[in-house]
């Protein structure tokens, strides 16, 4: 039996807490923020004002300095010079701890969730104080917040069972619970489903209506246009423009790139013979074990793979390249049965796989660009001719517009340039190219460039199979789209005859009633 005093105390605490949530909106000002990394001016005199209760977009391509600015604002980096003013008061942020104490909460691109911990443990982990931990009270407060924002968590399950979107939700209410009044979201829509994105946006709008200041960092125009009331555009460490929304998207694109980009319409390439064929393929257990997969990918064809992360796409792609061996069925490449062969034999059969982790499963940290080319050039002799290798490398760096030099290490390149390097390393002749998230984290220009390169390969009869979370990308570049759900292929669609809504429904596990779906 809780004592009356405890009940009174809890009621008081809850009231105070509620007070905190609903009052005291904060306006935020950044004045002349400079942050240099060596010779590079990541932030070069940024001045920015975020009014209380607004959704403020921060737009810019990769490398514009958005993340640095937000890291300064969240206490992760300290600025070389400049002021942060919160409600007219200048504040000093030496660590993320200071920032959250001042009411600034940051939701990182990859939610900072400890996967083996339970939801409730994650929730209380960042709370101030280190000794007294009242899980029951925290559970109540978590439940209260969930109800308020329409989230739904079982506090006792491990966080690894949550989807990326749910981890974000957990992180948002954790920050609110800690008293955040300014919420920063860094590219929050990467890797979450359309449903979850809609929910996220609704939540952010509700928060802003309550007086919360939300800074939404993105390189996706449509999202900023959908969500925000004001937008600031950054390029190369500087603010290049401000606008009230809505505003014509062309204007934003012009601010970001200085010109309006064409959207590339793809030309169709006549499809040829079978390059990749699955005949009743299935695995022994887990994903892709329930329904056998039969599939025929023709030369020159582009097949997009949609689905929530972890629905079996990984397994499927690894079955395509011999990194997994099926227990039943056959896998053929250009008519040759390679079912029980391994990755090396698939590689010899001109099948190449580029996984999502560019630095983890693609490039090698510490090796230079030239060394990467030497490793992947089939004509390299046992004794390396470094002069020739450097010349070739310089040529490729030029040809693929890699920002860096032949002597740059892989990890010193930005994400887009790492992707360019990976493409430059591909063998000239390929039957099948498998990719995960070919343009994840790239700015529009780089993404367009990547697809230009990929589509050009169709002319030589290469089939492209790619997984992506970006529905526009899937629709724009695929001939055919396979939708994975819960470890099986739930739909196979002609890209030209479908739309975002249909794919979105399928990704969520609902089959559209209208069209017959061949499975």
């Amino acid at each position: 039996m809780p004592s009356p005093l405890l009940i009174l105390f809890r009621a008081l605490a809850a009231a105070l807490f509620h007070e905190c949530l609903t009052s005291h909106a904060m306006s935020l000002e950044l004045r002349e923020i400079h942050k240099h990394f060596g010779p590079v001016r990541a932030n070069d005199g940024i001045t920015l004002t975020v009014e209380a209760g607004t959704l403020h977009g921060l737009l810019g391509e990769n490398g514009a300095g958005k993340s640095t600015l937000m890291k300064v604002l969240s206490g992760f980096h300290s600025a070389d010079s400049g002021e942060i003013v919160l409600d007219g008061k200048r504040i000093e942020l030496a660590s993320p701890d200071d920032a959250i104490a001042a009411g600034i909460g940051m939701l990182h691109q990859d939610p900072l969730v400890f996967l083996p911990f339970t939801v409730i443990d994650n929730f209380v982990l960042g709370s101030p104080g280190s000794w007294l931990l009242d899980r029951r009270q925290a559970t109540d407060e978590l439940a209260g917040l969930c109800e308020r924002y329409g989230f739904n968590f079982d506090p006792d399950i491990p966080a690894r069972l949550l989807t990326v979107g749910e981890r974000q939700q957990l992180e948002i209410i954790r920050l609110l619970w800690l008293g955040a009044r300014v919420l920063i979201l860094d590219e929050p829509t990467t890797g979450i489903s359309a449903d979850q994105r809609a929910k996220l946006f609704a939540t952010l709008k509700a928060l802003a209506a309550e007086g919360m200041s939300v800074i939404f960092v993105s390189h996706k125009l449509e999202e900023v246009a959908d969500l925000c009331q004001r937008v600031t555009v950054m390029t190369r460490g500087k603010v290049v423009g401000d606008a009230e929304l809505p505003t014509p998207p062309e204007r934003l694109v012009e601010m970001m790139f200085g010109q309006v980009l064409d959207t590339h319409e793809r030309d169709d390439v006549p499809l040829g013979d079978s390059n990749l064929k699955f005949d009743s393929v299935r695995t022994a257990s887990g994903l892709l074990s329930e329904e056998p997969i039969s599939l025929d990918v023709k030369s020159g064809e582009v097949v997009g793979i949609a689905g929530m992360e972890g629905s079996g796409q990984d397994t499927f792609l690894r079955l395509c390249c011999g990194m997994r061996t099926p227990t039943k069925g056959t896998v053929s490449i250009a008519g040759n049965d390679l079912t029980d062969q391994h990755y090396r034999e698939f590689l010899d059969a001109e099948v190449k796989f580029l996984p999502a982790g560019r630095l983890e499963e693609g490039l090698i940290e510490g090796l230079t660009v030239t060394e990467h080319f030497v490793l992947t050039d089939r004509d390299t002799n046992f004794v390396i001719d470094w002069d020739a290798a450097r010349k070739r490398s310089e040529h490729l760096v030029d040809q693929y517009s890699i920002k860096g030099t032949e002597a740059s290490t892989a990890e010193s390149l930005s994400g887009g340039n790492q992707q360019r390097l990976l493409l430059a390393m591909l063998p000239a002749k390929l039957k099948v190219l498998l990719m995960e998230h070919p343009t994840r984290g790239l700015d529009i220009e780089s993404a367009d460039w990547v697809w230009e390169q990929l589509l050009a390969r169709r002319e030589d009869g290469t089939s492209i199979v790619f997984a992506s979370a970006d529905l526009d990308e899937l629709l724009r570049y695929s001939d055919r789209i396979l939708v994975f759900f819960s470890g099986r292929i739930i739909g196979e669609l002609e890209a030209a005859a479908t739309n975002v809504d249909e794919i979105g429904l399928l990704i969520g596990g609902r089959k559209a009633g209208a069209e017959g779906i061949p499975t």
Binding site: G38, V374, V383, S412
Partner: protein, 356 residues
């Protein structure tokens, strides 16, 4: 680049020597005395002129196994492997060479050639075993190697007190000396064997070439830095890991051979002289650079030969040499950590600047 490398290698050594000097001053000893004693006790004073040819020969003949083992470890370190099993590989090399020296009777040049080949093969097989345990059995190479070290040590002891025991007495002091025909030819009066030194020099040059100019070396490095990426590039990663263990094992086996038929002239339980472990420290101090392995190995060889003189000449304990080694290595590790920290900071700054 080379300048930073120079400072990261030399700085810890200078710092240690400096602090040792201060310590000795505090203890009331002229810091120059032990230095001179060690130099005098190993290569003589003035270097290579005074002193005995025997000690000079000993110093060079201890340099050989340390340098060979270090050369081998550069290979496994580059492949991302901690080959703690190198002690066992040295011992197995010594045992294989001892077998040839004891049991085979052919003409002298052929006998020596056979002993050298057998020594390399013995170490190579023992190294391969660590590699197979790692790649096929999933046994971490540190534990597998350590286990095999003990096995190798037990085999030596068994041979010395068992089948190869000295006639009449079973003693752990070693086997009978090998026949003269099986010993490495040496320069008059000392153990100094030009052949052994040539082998060590060739090994160091070979390893330098391997990582400087060959595709094999680059692939080893790639495997060591990122196995999934290397695999996806089509490099048979397991084969390369095994290859690194075989190369290292063979060089360690040669080190053991030099110990057996070049220095001790018999098989003793402590045939490895712990030079495998010492070589790990040498390689760390040398920042994996073969060029630096040569002088640093020589420095350690001098300490090994010269430090017993400390207690005789000065009133210092002979273990001072060991203390010197230990402190050196610790500070080298600190230096390595510091260098890595700086490199990481530079890399972060560079990445931030290109990302942002």
């Amino acid at each position: 680049m080379t300048r930073t490398r120079m400072t990261t290698v030399l700085l810890p050594i200078l710092v240690v020597l400096g602090s040792m000097a201060v310590l000795l001053l505090l203890a009331g000893t002229n810091p120059w005395d032990p230095v001179r004693t060690i130099v005098e006790g190993s290569i003589g004073w003035p270097p290579f002129e005074g002193g005995s040819g025997r000690k000079v020969g000993d110093t060079f003949m201890l340099w050989v196994p340390i340098a060979l083992a270090s050369a081998g470890l550069i290979v496994t370190f580059n492949a991302g492997m901690w080959n703690i099993g190198i002690e066992g590989q040295i011992i197995m090399g010594a045992i294989a060479a001892a077998f040839v020296a004891r049991e085979v009777s052919v003409s002298r040049p052929l006998l020596i050639l056979l002993a050298i080949l057998a020594g390399a093969a013995g170490g190579m097989l023992w190294g391969l075993l660590v590699g197979v345990l790692r790649t096929a059995g999933g046994v971490n190479e540190i534990f597998g190697g350590l286990g095999l070290d003990f096995v190798a040590l037990s085999i030596t002891t068994y041979l010395i007190i068992g089948p190869w025991a000295r006639s009449g007495v079973a003693s752990t002091s070693g086997t009978n000396p090998f026949p003269d025909d099986a010993l490495l030819p040496s320069l008059g009066g000392s153990k100094l064997s030009p052949l052994a030194i040539a082998i060590a020099v060739v090994a160091l040059l070979g390893v330098w070439m391997l990582f400087r100019g060959t595709l094999y070396g680059l692939k080893l490095k790639a495997v060591g830095r990122n196995r999934p990426s290397s695999f996806l590039m089509g490099i048979p990663t397991n084969r390369y890991l095994l290859g690194s263990f075989m190369i290292c094992g063979a060089l360690a086996g040669l080190a053991g051979t030099s110990q057996a038929i070049g220095f001790h002239h018999k098989l003793i339980p402590a045939i490895s002289g712990n030079f495998g472990f010492l070589a790990i420290l040498v390689v760390l101090l040398a920042r994996f650079q073969p060029v630096w392995v040569a002088p640093i190995s020589f420095f350690f060889a001098m300490i090994a030969v010269g430090s017993p003189g400390l207690s005789l000449r000065l009133d210092l304990h002979g273990s001072l040499g060991g203390v010197l080694q230990g402190v050196l290595v610790l500070s080298a590790m600190l230096g390595l950590g510091w260098a890595a920290y700086l490199a990481r900071r530079r890399a972060t700054a560079a990445a931030e600047s290109s990302n942002e």
